[in-house]
C-alpha cells in the first residue's frame, strides 16, 4: 500500500502556491514600471542605457525584478514540467536543468546590474 508521504509534503505544495502568488503581486508594479520606464530611455545608445541603469532607483528595481521574475518563472516552469513530463527520471532531470538555467539567468542579471550601477562598465 502506498504511504501518504509518496505524494510529497503538503507544506511544500502550499509554499509553492503561496510564493507563486507573492511574486505575482510583486511583479505587477515591477513589470509595469519596467515597461513604462523603457519608453523613456534611448535604448539604442549605450551611454543613455548605462546612465539609466546607474540611477539608484533603477538599479534597485531592476534587481528586485530579476529576483521576483526568475523565482516566479522557476515556479511556473516547474508546474508545466510536472504536468507534461511523465517519465520520472526525465522529469527530475528537467527540473534540475530548469533550476540551473534560472540560477544562471538570475546570476547574470544581478551581476550585470551591479557592474553597471557601480560604474565598472
Amino acid at each position: 500500500m502506498r504511504k501518504e508521504s509518496d505524494r510529497g509534503s503538503a507544506n511544500a505544495s502550499v509554499a509553492h502556491w503561496w510564493h507563486q502568488r507573492l511574486t505575482a503581486v510583486a511583479l505587477i508594479p515591477l513589470g509595469l514600471w519596467l515597461a513604462f520606464a523603457l519608453t523613456g530611455v534611448d535604448v539604442a545608445s549605450h551611454a543613455a542605457f548605462v546612465a539609466w541603469i546607474s540611477e539608484p532607483l533603477t538599479a534597485i528595481l531592476l534587481g528586485l525584478l530579476a529576483v521576483a521574475g526568475t523565482y516566479h518563472s522557476w515556479l511556473g516552469v516547474q508546474v508545466v514540467l510536472e504536468d507534461y513530463v511523465t517519465h520520472p527520471r526525465r522529469l527530475r532531470v528537467s527540473l534540475l536543468l530548469s533550476l540551473i538555467a534560472h540560477l544562471v539567468v538570475l546570476a547574470a542579471g544581478l551581476f550585470a546590474i551591479l557592474r553597471v550601477a557601480l560604474g565598472v562598465a
Binding site: I53, G76, V80, D83, A108, A112, V116
Partner: protein, 130 residues
Amino acid sequence: MNQATDAPRRPLSPHLQVYRWGITNSLSILHRATGLVLSLGLVVLAIWLLAAASGPGVFAALMTVYGSVWFKLPLAGIVFSFFYHLANGVRHLVWDAGRGFSHAAIRGGGIAVVAVALIATAAYVAVGMC
C-alpha cells in the same frame, strides 16, 4: 505506463488534446504559453543587461540583433505575453480571493483580458518600437 516509479505520483492535468476547445480553456492555456514566453523574455533581458555591462562595443553588436527588423515580431510577442499574463494573472488573483466565479464574470473577464492585452500591446508597440 506500467514502469516502476521512484518519484511521487501526484495528480496531473490531462494533455491538451482531450479538451473540447472553448474560450475559457483557450485563455487558460494561453496563460501558460505566455508565461513560458516571458521566461524566454527574462533571458533576452539578462543578455541585454550583460551586453550593457560589457561595454559600448558588445552593446552595439547586440543591438544589431535586438534592433533588427526580424527581431520586432518576437519582441512584440514578448510585449503581448507580458500584458496578457499580467491582466490574466490579476484575474487569477481575483479567483484566488474567491470572487468572480459566475458564468458571466468568467466569460466577460476573459474577453476583457484579451481586449486589454491587445490594446496595450498595440499602444506599446506604436509608442516604443517604431
